[in-house]
Every structure is written in structure tokens, then in C-alpha cells.
Subunit: 357 residues, 2 copies
Amino acid sequence: MTDTAPGTASRTPTRRYGTRPTMKDVAARAGVGLKTVSRVVNGEPGVTPDTERRVQEAITALGFRRNDSARILRKGRTASIGLVLEDLADPFYGPLSRAVEEVARAHGALLINGSSAEDPDREQELVLALCARRVDGLVIIPAGHDHRYLAPEMAAGVATVFVDRPAGRIDADAVLADSFGGSRDAVAHLIAHGHRRIGFLGDLPGIHTAAERLRGYHAAMNEAGLPVHDAWVSTGPTDPERVRAAATAMLNAAEPVTALFAGNNRVTVTVVRVLAERPAPAAPVALVGFDDFELADLLSPGITVIAQDSAQLGRTAADLLFRRLDGAGGDPRQLVLPTRLIPRGSGELPPPATSTA
Amino acid sequence: MTDTAPGTASRTPTRRYGTRPTMKDVAARAGVGLKTVSRVVNGEPGVTPDTERRVQEAITALGFRRNDSARILRKGRTASIGLVLEDLADPFYGPLSRAVEEVARAHGALLINGSSAEDPDREQELVLALCARRVDGLVIIPAGHDHRYLAPEMAAGVATVFVDRPAGRIDADAVLADSFGGSRDAVAHLIAHGHRRIGFLGDLPGIHTAAERLRGYHAAMNEAGLPVHDAWVSTGPTDPERVRAAATAMLNAAEPVTALFAGNNRVTVTVVRVLAERPAPAAPVALVGFDDFELADLLSPGITVIAQDSAQLGRTAADLLFRRLDGAGGDPRQLVLPTRLIPRGSGELPPPATSTA
């Protein structure tokens, strides 16, 4: 099996879009040998200042650039890390991505992003494509629940840290927010303000954070000795149509819920709309949402939330990744960052007088 | 100059993180020659079904993966495009990124993202790093104003489309929103509702969109025969502190503005906060913001905006990129997408009775 030298790669017949100047072109223009050009390009010794200047001039004149794909093959390190997100358009991941990028940059590494769109096959395809491009490490917000496909890559040295959700069926570093504890706090807060009939609107129950938040809801209800009716729990995709229908059903039932706990920012925003659109004589409904969101404090009432620090999640995961790349050993670790309840009005509304126990 | 075959790249002494199985390992385990493994890996003919099965079993058992860095060198195509954003955490870019990714995926290409953080040097570094990794094409939201550094890459065949802002000092495809026309509409709308003293709060004037929006403000004022006082125009970084100070100065001047036009979503959100925090007897101030944002309709009053379709910008740019990659010739094109004024209340507030002409 043969390989093309980087300088000639662009001359293969399958290349369609123009031709790049090669090291040969640089050597010809500078009137030096190929090895000399290679030395200059790779910063190796053994070239006189005058020759180096001639080569640099030829490089500039021709617009030659080193092909890093070839360097990667020779050096084994690419100074790049991959970040696999769940959804590029979810505002929760913006600060997380930026934090990972800042840590990568501080370590001189390029960040390569991609999103799985909550599709396990797409996650695997993207992760393996990044591994095939020889990233040094990966920060993954997983969509799937079985990451055994990553075991050979990790064994080969690709440092991997999961964030927001843990890895499935392999042991790996993970940085998570306290979804269970935060949700228990949210529901306990509503109970402390007099609510007994509290609805839970959450994401697909197969998603780790969604399952943990549902578990927190049940724990708080259970600790207060309150029953949970099936009609008070709705989990599924977070598209507005489904959430709107589920919230409306809970609010219009014969014994309606007096408070809602929304399992993430996408759900909360839809519930805010549903509550705002209710006709005037409707009794106010209390609401606590998991995840803070922009302008939550400027709505009337302000929206009480369980805030997780998405930038801190990203920073912590990236710091851990680079510690692993710098040789830190030890078993995989699971770091759980605390959440914070921010009362703003919506979560402190009492139930209507007739519905209190 | 020599190159390492892909299968042996991981054996070079500089590789630090474990060892990957090579094609040689696969060949040894399957009891076949290297060329046979290569044929199976690359889907080439000339291998019996039984041999192929043996090779596949060895690949699975060893966790072997083809090194795409080597393939890129041989084939000249990487099936990947790069997207260079200005800020990963700005919600305006979320739908744009997702749209570019969807188009890339429909063309079987991987999307590699990075952000310049509004730093021209960082933009150049990132763009050239992506070119060195042999992306087929680039979608760029530029931070800088001089893109001559890209000319050799474009001549070598890297298709490039600028989006949101045009290229500087080179001819290149660009997809833009109508910042000038949208801003003129916004200010004309405020004038039509009786305002004469209208403030403009914008981004750094070196940014193309910011300059165009300021130009639209001046055009509308000029067309209505209204003077523009220096104190009514403030441009600069969009951090909340600066915007807050500038808005407060305009509102507390001896002859205060009665309406504000905010040049982008970051500015608008801060202005909404400034207006919400004014003490109770203050007269309402009209506001139109460039860019729509989530929950703008649920504030009191709802925020009137000039909406641009960020997903459509991304989709149009990516479509144009892949048409170029598929061989579409012709001069560079500049596509300008229309904006849309969405009245919601804040832009329809009249000036206080004493201040109308």
C-alpha cells in the first residue's frame, strides 16, 4: 500500500477544485532541493538564513501551505479536540460550547464541533469521524445510551469526557449537573408554598437528565406524603405542540394541577406561553422551570428557575479532558455540579384558596 | 521527504496516548496480506466473501479504524466543510449553524465549527487551520476586514461563502440580510408614530452590519427632515455595561430621546432591562430592536423588532457553497435577504404629549 507525499496530494486525478502549489513548486521557484523546503516548513535546523529567506519568498509568492493531514500522520498529535453537542440551536449549549472553546484555546488546541440532533446513530457517526481525523480528545453530550463503540478509541488514547449526561455501558469521565437534587428542590419549593397537585412536564424519559428530574419530582412528592396521579406526569419530545397539549390537559382536568414543574428550558418557554394565553378569569398557576433562560426575570411574574451553570459544566469538562491529556491517571470520575433555585415570583404563587388542603 | 503509511502512524515515537491497531495487525490476525486488508477497508473488488468475513472479524476484534488523514491525502476530498462563527454563545447564530449543518449533512459532509470571538487574527488562524485540514469549503461570518489571506486557498479550490457580513478586499460570494433597509424601516416606523428625538444604540462601527444599520438610521431621519444630534448615536462593544450607560445618558439628557432603535439582539435585551428598571413615573420610551429574540412577544409591552431569518441565511449560504462545489461557475454573488418588521407594542408607543412637535 502506498501513500502520496503531501506535496503531491493535490495532483491526484480525483482532485476537482484547482491545484495547490506543492513543495516541489516551492523548491523549483527557490532553486533549492525538496529536503530544504521541508526543513524550512517544519522549522528544522540546517538551512542558511539566505536560503531560508529564498524559500519563504517562494512560499509567499506561490501561496503554499503545509498540508496538516500529512503532519498529523507523521506526528500523531493534531492539537485539536472535538465537541459533540446535542443541538446547535439550543441556547443552553451556547455558553457550554464557548467555555470548552476557551479552555481548548488556552491549551493551543483547535475545537471542532458537531451536533447529533439527539440521534444516537448520528452521534456515533460524528464521534468516529472525529476520531478518524485524529482529534486528541472528545467532549461529548451524548444522545445514545451505548458507548461501547468508543472503547477502542479510548484504549488507543483518545481522551473522552462526557458532559451533561453520563456515558452508557462504558466507564468514562463525566461532568453532570445535579438534576435529581435540583428537581427535588423545585418541587419541595412548590409544596412549601401550599401546592398539592403539581404537574411534571419533561423531556423523553430515555434521556438521563430527564429521568433524573422525574426521579427528583417523585422524591419530593413522596417525602411530603403526596400522591402522584398518572395524569400529572407527561414526558416526551419537547416540541411546542406536544408540551402545549400536555400542559393544557393538566390545567383543564376536572381536578386541575395548581402548579407545574417544567423539566428544561424548551419546556418552560412553551409553558410560559400557554399560561400567558389563558383567558382572563383563570386562576394563576405556579411554575418552576429547570434551567435559567434570558429575560426570565422580566416576565410578569418573573419565572422561578433551577439554574445550572452551563459555562461551568463546559469549563469543568474541558479542564478534566486536558488534565487527562497531560497524563493524569486514575479511574474515570463523575463530577456533579450543584444547581441553584432562583425565586422570581412564578414559583411563589399560592394555589387558589379553594384548592388548598 | 517520506510519509508514514496510515496503519503505522500510531507507532511513531511522538505518539503519547496508547497504540492503535494497524492494518498489519488486522492482516496478521486474519492471516491475509496487507493489500487484502486494504481492499476490504476501501471497498475495492477482488476479495472472496470468506476472506472478507475473516478480515471484518479481525477488524471488529481489534477495534481497527481506517485513518481518514491518510485517505484525505490520497483522495484530495474530505467531505467536510468548515463554519467560522463570530460567537458560539450568541443565540442569533444557533439557527444559522443548525441550518448549515443540515445542508452539509444532506450532502454527506461533516461540519466543522469554530468561533473567532470577533478577533480578526483568530479568524485567520482558524480559517487557515481548517484549510490545512483540507475542508472542501468554508462558510464564514467574518470578524476581520481583509481576507486577502484567503485568496491562495480559494485559488486552490476551497469554495468560500461569507454570510451575515461580506468579505473584505477580495471578491467572494456573500449572503447578507438587508441591514440598511431593515433599519430604515425601523426608524421610519418610530417617526410615523410621532417620534422626533430617536436614539441609535449599535455595535462597533467597524462591523459591516453595524455600519449599515447606522446608515439606515441616518437615511430615515434624513428622509423625514429630522436632525440627528451627536448625543443620540452611540456605537461600541455590546457588553451590557456600555449599552446601559449609553442608554441611560440618552434617557436622562436635558432633552431626552423619546424612542430608541437598538442595533442588534444583544443591545435590545440590555435596553429592555434599562427601561424596565426606570422608576415608576418615567414616561414610556418607544423601542424597536434589530433581530427577533425568544419571548419578545411576552414582555409588557411586547418588543417590536426587525426580524431577519437566521436559519434562512445559513441555508442560503450553504446551498450556494455546495452549488459551487458541484461546479457552478460565474462571478462571486452577493445575495441580500429581506427583513420583516414585527409590531408588538414597544415600537408603537407614542412620545409623551409635551414632546411632540
